[in-house]
């Protein structure tokens, strides 16, 4: 009889889609309860969104000014206390979840299962190791609560809109540390779709050649309504900001369509895209490893091909 607590991720008053993906993983356990916990200074809008996710039993909220920014040291003692009575605590395996979940696990004195790809049973999970080059089946001790992070690329977002789960404020008596303070978040503001959750992603690599040249990648992405990503090489070369990085050390994504332009396909990049529906590779080097994983390949000069693609689109 599993009872699962899913920790909501949010930013600027909006629920992050990764939360609904974690709810999908929770539903796979067939629990009796899936509650979503929202910690923020302003919980109402986020809680309302969370309550619409299919499968959610109840939304719990902790509204405190200290929760204005998602600092792991501040959130973890609250989550650990709220976790009492639950068999599982799930967070998405985003930088938010990776930061806070182990801190919760340690406070509870339990091990953590990172990056859950599939659920074989209430205490049996599959997860990747060695950058996805091996998949292990892990059994957690049923005597303890399971703290797990959910690999978002492996799970669809649970449907939203039909549910109307009740929202309850939690009053917890927890002393919070003041030793860690939020200063600033530097975001690349963009009107484009969010890279992590977009259906279509166009990524550029070192082959794009410069920051200025990257404009053609942006332009093409805008034409087909895609998010923009990049390889580590392109980020390290300074063509684009780091939050666009796709790969083992950047974002692991699973769009329906992934178009890799001028990306050779280093293993760490391939790890980040291997759950994509259709991978298209455009590269001038026919021997590039990206073609090994591509569903559709096109060899040629990207500076000629991209304008051709745009005109073919009409």
């Amino acid at each position: 009889m599993s009872k699962i607590l899913v920790i909501a991720e949010h930013l600027d008053g909006k629920l992050n889609p990764s939360t609904a993906r974690a709810v999908s993983a929770a539903a796979a356990i067939k629990p009796v309860v899936i509650d979503v916990l929202v910690l923020s200074d302003q919980v109402d809008a986020i809680a309302a969104e969370a309550g619409k996710i299919e499968g959610v039993s109840r939304v719990l909220t902790i509204a405190r000014p200290e929760n204005a920014h998602l600092l792991a040291a501040v959130l973890a003692p609250q989550i650990a206390k709220a976790a009492a009575g639950y068999s599982h605590v799930f967070t998405p395996s985003t930088t938010f979840g990776k930061d806070v979940a182990p801190r919760v696990a340690a406070l509870l004195g339990v091990a953590q299962v990172s990056d859950v790809m599939s659920v074989d049973g209430p205490h049996t999970f599959k997860r990747p190791i060695y950058a996805g080059n091996a998949i292990i089946t892990v059994e957690a001790d049923p005597a303890h609560a399971v703290v797990a992070t959910i690999r978002t690329a492996s799970w669809p977002a649970a449907a939203s809109g039909t549910n109307n789960a009740p929202v309850d404020a939690l009053a917890l008596d927890v002393a919070l540390p003041t030793h860690t303070r939020f200063i600033e978040l530097k975001q690349g503001k963009s009107d484009r779709p969010d890279l992590q959750s977009a259906d279509k992603v166009v990524s550029g690599g070192r082959g794009v050649g410069s920051k200025e040249n990257f404009e053609i990648v942006y332009k093409f992405a805008d034409k087909i309504g895609a998010a923009v990503g990049a390889s580590r090489a392109a980020v390290d070369a300074g063509y684009v900001p780091n939050e666009l990085q796709v790969g083992q050390t950047g974002k692991i994504i699973a769009p329906e369509l992934y178009i890799a332009i001028g990306i050779s396909g280093a293993i760490q990049h391939l790890t980040g895209i291997k759950d994509a529906g259709t991978i298209v590779a455009i590269n001038k080097d026919a021997e590039a490893p990206i073609f090994e994983v591509a569903d559709i390949g096109l060899v040629g000069d990207l500076f000629k091909i991209i304008p051709d693609l745009e005109s073919a689109l009409g």
């Binding site: 060695y130 978040l185 529906g277 991978i279």
Partner: protein
């Protein structure tokens, strides 16, 4: 200030990982082992803080079998003042590692602990956060920039939304991300010098750490392979194919 640095030995990142046909593990016999790349970055950052005068001593910590000594010598050759080797033949899980680090923190009283954000073998990404929780101190994970002044550390963190800057009181735990720095290469004279640097060995059992593993790995499999795709001849054919598939 003293800095403790976690220094794990893992299968080298260039090795192509093979799952054993019987599913009991990955092939490690005769495979090249190296420092976890994120740990090299952690050590490099600690050394730079010492060179700036922010820290006086850098101590590398390894947990593993008797032959881990050679690996710790590499950390000493890179520039650490001394090493601590917690000796155990077992492969330990992150919670146990965090409990070991807590014991060492109690003994050594460091001002800062820097660990890699994850080890590239188990990819757990847990030990630093767990140590910070058990120690009841701040954590700054996925660090790409560290500034220390007046008993506080300001850390730029690589998060999904961009770069987050947080400030924390010391002592604290920081985990390193790739862009924090580029680790130095070890020079031959440093290897000679490292031979005379001290390595304290501590038997794991003597630490009194609960080593009960709550997770059991029952099976290893190779990831599903993507099937070979098709090549198209030009942009027009590519667009036509994507439209046919309903992707555009």
């Amino acid at each position: 200030m003293k800095i403790l640095v976690g220094y794990k030995r893992v299968v080298d990142y260039n090795v192509r990982i093979q799952v054993k046909p019987d599913g009991t593990g990955v092939v490690t016999d005769g495979v090249k082992l190296s420092a976890n790349p994120f740990d090299d970055i952690a050590l490099e950052e600690a050394l730079r803080l010492r060179e700036k005068g922010t820290a006086e001593e850098v101590v590398v910590v390894g947990i593993g079998p008797a032959d881990l000594t050679a690996h710790l010598r590499n950390g000493l050759a890179m520039g650490a003042n001394r090493a601590i080797h917690v000796v155990t033949p077992e492969v330990i899980q992150p919670l146990t590692a965090a409990r070991v680090f807590l014991k060492l923190v109690e003994r050594e009283q460091p001002g800062l602990v820097i660990l890699g954000k994850q080890a590239i073998d188990d990819d757990a990404n847990q030990t630093g956060q767990m140590l910070a929780a058990l120690w009841d101190r701040p954590q700054a994970t996925f660090a790409s920039k560290i500034d220390i002044a007046y008993g506080k550390v300001t850390v730029t963190r690589e998060v999904d939304a961009g770069l987050e800057i947080i400030e924390a009181e010391l002592p604290a735990v920081i985990t390193s991300d790739l862009r924090l720095n580029e680790p130095r290469f070890i020079k031959l004279p440093d290897i000679m010098k490292a031979k005379s640097k001290p390595i304290d060995t501590i038997e794991f059992a003597s630490l009194g750490v609960d080593a009960h593993d709550q997770l059991k790995t029952t099976h290893y499999t190779a990831p599903a392979k993507r099937s070979k795709g098709v090549m198209v001849k030009d942009a027009a054919e590519l667009i036509a194919t994507l439209k046919q598939k309903g992707l555009l």
